[in-house]
């Protein structure tokens, strides 16, 4: 059964796109056919992690939403670009990075129903096992839609007061929308913090499973969105924690 997974954070800078790219890669490494769709139309970015730039983008999600093409025409097979031995497949559906197109979205809006149709068509046409929806941070119509249709929701937060508050709101929303599986990932934890304590506290606050507690990593910062971490540092603590997330999605 294909699974729709939304990856969300209330605030930005939590490392959501990085986590999406890494977990997707780990799933593909397990032989899964994974679609990754960047619904952050206002500030797209996950394409960078897969080495896709403006010239490589044949069609974007924007083209589909404006009726210029079918959704499957926006899917870019990025598996080869990972330059790793991967059994599965990763298809990236990017959002446009052209200033004019971003401005156009602001001005004209788009049909939310079309977006929903697109999700389902992608799964069918590309025979996907998993559709990973990288959402815009915070609550808005797109994130609410993706949460509403998701089989699993991954919420990423940092151990920060502002993140805690925002995550509370997101968990409240997810419970209202009855998402079957909810996983928390606590990211960018200072090494001075007690990780077991962070995990226990977060699980207690939200009454929700914490799938991974990720330390703040200098390597991650240095990589600065240039690549997929788990491929560069497969034995790092961060990579093994992320494997736990992938495992929970496959369970």
């Amino acid at each position: 059964m294909p699974k729709i997974v939304s990856i969300h954070s209330f605030r930005g800078g939590t490392g959501k796109s990085n986590t999406t790219a890494n977990v997707s890669t780990l799933l593909a490494a397990e032989g899964q056919r994974v679609g990754v769709i960047d619904t952050d139309i206002q500030s797209p970015g996950i394409h960078v992690l897969f080495g896709l730039d403006e010239d490589d983008m044949v069609h974007s999600l924007n083209d589909y939403l404006w009726g210029k093409c079918d959704i499957e025409e926006t899917a870019h097979d990025v598996t080869a670009s990972l330059k790793a031995d991967i059994d599965g497949q990763i298809y990236l559906i990017p959002s446009s990075i052209k200033a004019g197109e971003i401005a156009r979205v602001l001005r004209e809006g788009y049909d939310v129903g079309l977006l929903n149709d697109g999700f389902h068509e992608l799964i069918e046409k590309l025979d996907l096992d998993m559709l990973m929806i990288d959402t815009h941070p915070g609550l808005n119509e797109e994130t609410l839609l993706s949460i509403a249709i998701s089989d699993a929701l991954i919420i990423i937060l940092r151990p920060d007061q502002q993140d805690y508050q925002g995550t509370g709101v997101t968990v409240e929303v997810a419970r209202k929308l009855i998402v079957p599986q909810m996983l928390l990932v606590v990211n960018k934890v200072p090494t001075t913090f007690d990780f077991d304590e962070v995990k226990a506290r977060v699980e207690q606050i939200y009454e929700c499973d914490v799938a991974a507690v990720l330390p703040h990593s200098d390597e991650m910062m240095a990589l600065a969105s240039a690549g997929v971490f788990v491929l560069h540092y497969p034995n790092h603590q961060v990579s093994s924690e992320l494997r736990q997330v992938a495992a929970k999605l496959l369970a």
Binding site: Q42, V48, I97, A99, I102, R158, P159, H216
Partner: protein
């Protein structure tokens, strides 16, 4: 009229609220009369940073925007550290973090003219030197309006590839709106980078002044938005750099 300083970033999580708050506090500590507005109505956060300074806040910016109160009722004076020679004053206009209010803002937005009038009234009643507006991120209708009325734009960016494009668009747009002064701040720069080279590169990329390159500091992360950084660490290098930005703002 007080100068309007918009604090914006294209993406989220760049440290906008933290920088806006700490700048406002530093400006107040050097004798300026500062209004700080949480205009990030879809996801407000300034009240968290000021948590310990705010008593029972009853009216909020949302109430003013819905015409349920005057702007003066939604403003809270923030008590700063004692023993400072020329103590200015800081007033905060917080926004509501509750789901019903934030979804209302997502759905309906708010009356921008009304918002602007509120700012003008506040500035005149409190005789403010500056109004710092913590905007929503990105180029939404509300932030575009704020750019249109601002005298100074403090634009924050990280060093992610993902930040560059959006920040460039914002600079371009701000120029077309004849925004008088744009100050770029690069935040969370990795410790491994050469800052002077980075500063030059970024100034060239954006054809814009770079106010500061702020490195990542573990102490900021560890403080975890529970307190105001510059009050906790008054002699920290970050505090010094923010003071310099404050200098620029007061001078210009």
């Amino acid at each position: 009229m007080a100068r309007i300083v918009a604090v914006n970033s294209f993406r989220l999580g760049v440290g906008r609220s933290t920088i806006a708050t700490n700048l406002a506090v530093l400006l107040a500590l050097r004798g300026q009369r500062i209004g700080l507005i949480d205009a990030n109505l879809q996801a407000p956060g300034l009240h968290i940073l000021f948590g310990q300074h705010l008593d029972q806040a009853s009216y909020l910016l949302n109430d003013f925007l819905q015409n349920k109160c005057d702007i003066q009722q939604a403003v809270y004076r923030i008590a700063l550290a004692d023993g400072v020679a020329h103590q200015g004053l800081l007033w905060l206009v917080p926004a509501s973090p509750h789901l019903t209010e934030t979804t209302r803002m997502i759905r309906q937005g708010y009356d921008l003219d009304w918002f602007y009038r509120g700012l003008q009234e506040l500035a005149s009643t409190l005789r403010l030197d500056m109004v710092l507006i913590d905007t929503q991120n990105g180029l939404t209708e509300e932030t575009l309006f704020t750019l249109a009325i601002a005298d100074v734009l403090i634009l924050l960016s990280r060093t992610d590839q993902q930040d560059y494009r959006g920040t460039a668009i914002t600079v371009e747009l701000a120029r077309k709106l004849d925004l008088p002064r744009i100050l770029l701040i690069v935040n969370e720069a990795p410790g491994t980078a050469d800052f002077s080279i980075l500063k030059t590169q970024i100034a060239q990329t954006y054809h814009c002044d770079v106010g500061a390159v702020l490195p990542h500091f573990e102490e900021v992360m560890a403080l975890a938005s529970a307190e105001i950084f510059v009050l906790r660490y008054p002699h920290h290098p970050l505090t010094t750099q923010l003071e310099q930005i404050g200098d620029e703002l007061v001078r210009s």
